[in-house]
Amino acid sequence: MVRLDFRKRIGDFHLDVSLDMGEEVMVLFGPSGSGKTSILSCLAGLLAPDEGHITVNGDVVFEATGGRVLRNLPPQKRRVGYVFQDYALFPHMTVAQNVAYGLRGQPDVPPRVEAVLKTMRLEDMAGRYPHQLSGGQQQRVAIARALVVQPRVLLLDEPFSALDTMVRDRLQHELVVLQEEWLLPIIYVTHSLGDAFAMGHRIAVVNEGRIEQVGPKEEILNCPRSRAVARFTGTRNIYEAQVLEATPQATTLSWEGRSVVAPGSTLAPGSGVTFCIRPEQVMLLREGDDSKENVFRGEIANEVSRGPSISLFFRLDGGQSQDDYDLEISLPIHVYARFHLDTQKRLAVSLKKEAIHLIPEASQGRHR
């Protein structure tokens, strides 16, 4: 169990964090400079918050109220494992010496080092120096070094950002297995949505020093609570609209002169609302298919291939948008081929009612 509830000023930057987690992988996801690493530093004892408290397994490691620090355990006493972004392996020590560093004065050092090296598939590397290892191996040494001291929580700061995709996928899988074996709370910092979804049980979206939203990954993906979260999680299509009518079954919106039917809500008619739809949720319609909700016609203004999928930038008929396009659509390649989109540029699309997510105006501001 880890509980964070603290505030910290770093120059003009305000960190204001409140987060509870159990024996799970919690992903701190957010853009660079949003304060993710500072949150880890506060938990590890490398940075002292101004106010608040931090608890690890019921043990208060930091507490300050009214500007008075009541308790601030040094990093040495916190038993918080920290894997740095650049791994921070000691370059003048071998792999075995690196891993043994945190075990000084404890019994059974050689067998414990050997055991963890074996778990991390590093037994043949024991005598090598960090500069003789590949990036993935260095990463595994850093994790082994942090795990061997049996930390109460493991922090990983952008652990796979410098690795190629294949190595990353494998390490991510290993880490998930490891977490299930050791039942260790892991906090994983990343700015990559793919990493966040591959690793996390729950995701905390960090923006400008705050946790904007915490929840299971599906919830973060499909029900962002603010525009910022929607933007970070790849919900490309975010629009302002007015509520015309709201019932528990359906909410009717007015969007730039068009009428859009969204899921039911209790929004007041006339109030402003943000609605959004993920690009992969936009449905293409065959000619003459008018059985769907929210059907709009338009043309493809541009397209970008993204490997297994393709992004279409779609301009709606009668669109007033100053941008080049109104809607981004993401399609698997085979759908693209089936609709003959390489030749046919005019289309009808449907914004399925259930795929539309509403963000009320009230939750746009700063919330805690």
Binding site: A44, G45, L46, P74, P75, Q76, K77, R78, R79, V80, G81, Y82, F84, D86, A88, F90, P91, H92, Y101, G102, R104, R145, A146, V149
Partner: protein, 215 residues
């Protein structure tokens, strides 16, 4: 041939280097890794001997070591005009060279390595001894060599606090000065060549040792 000045010079420079190692490394660690009120003042004062004329420095040292100073009156240490005073003078002059080079080396050690050591439970002394200093060792050794060389050549401040007593406090630079003054150029030549050879040998040896040590 008088061997005494050479032996005394090596003795004084070696001892001064030991003093500089202890005091200088402490100051370098403090200045590189801690922020405290008066940081800039300490940094400036430590570097002052680089720019002050040795005679001015010697003058200060006379006050510090001489009659009425706490060192003499309270601690009862009276080393003025002994070879120990030459050690103090050489160490003072050599200190900034050590502090500057080792401070730069310590600053270039990735702070994340020290943080990693701390999160692994290592107390501060282990972080310094096993992470910071080994990684900064090239700069530290370079600083020591510079300090030793500077101590070996020390003249002005030494003359003021240790005097120029043949057989007691006369180091090689002072002896050479005396010999030239009394027109004994042949003897001066020998000392000059000896000094050059010794300096060359030390620098050459350290350079070689350093190169083979790190990869």
């Amino acid at each position: 041939m008088q061997w005494h000045p050479l032996i005394l010079s090596l003795q004084v420079a070696s001892l001064a280097t030991v003093v500089v190692l202890i005091v200088g490394l402490g100051l370098a660690l403090l200045l590189a890794r801690r922020r405290f009120p008066g940081h800039t003042v300490v940094d400036t004062v430590v570097n002052l001997p680089l720019v002050l004329p040795p005679s001015v420095l010697g003058f200060y040292l006379l006050f510090v070591l001489g009659r009425g100073s706490p060192v003499k009156e309270w601690l009862g240490i009276d080393i003025l005009f002994t070879w120990m005073a030459a050690v103090v003078a050489s160490a003072t002059v050599a200190l900034p060279l050590m502090v500057r080079t080792s401070k730069a080396a310590i600053e270039s050690v990735d702070p994340n390595l020290e943080k990693a050591a701390r999160t692994l439970g290592a107390p501060e002394w282990r972080v310094i001894k096993e992470v910071t200093l080994p990684l900064a060792r090239r700069g530290i050794i370079a600083g020591l060599v510079l300090a030793f060389a500077r101590a070996l050549g020390e003249f002005g401040a030494t003359l003021m606090v240790a005097g120029n007593i043949p057989g007691r406090t006369q180091t090689v630079p002072l002896a050479i000065y005396d010999l030239v003054q009394s027109n004994r150029v042949r003897e001066a030549n020998v000392l000059v060549l000896l000094m050059t050879a010794v300096s060359f040998a030390i620098l050459w040896g350290v350079n070689r040792w350093q190169r083979s040590w790190w990869r």
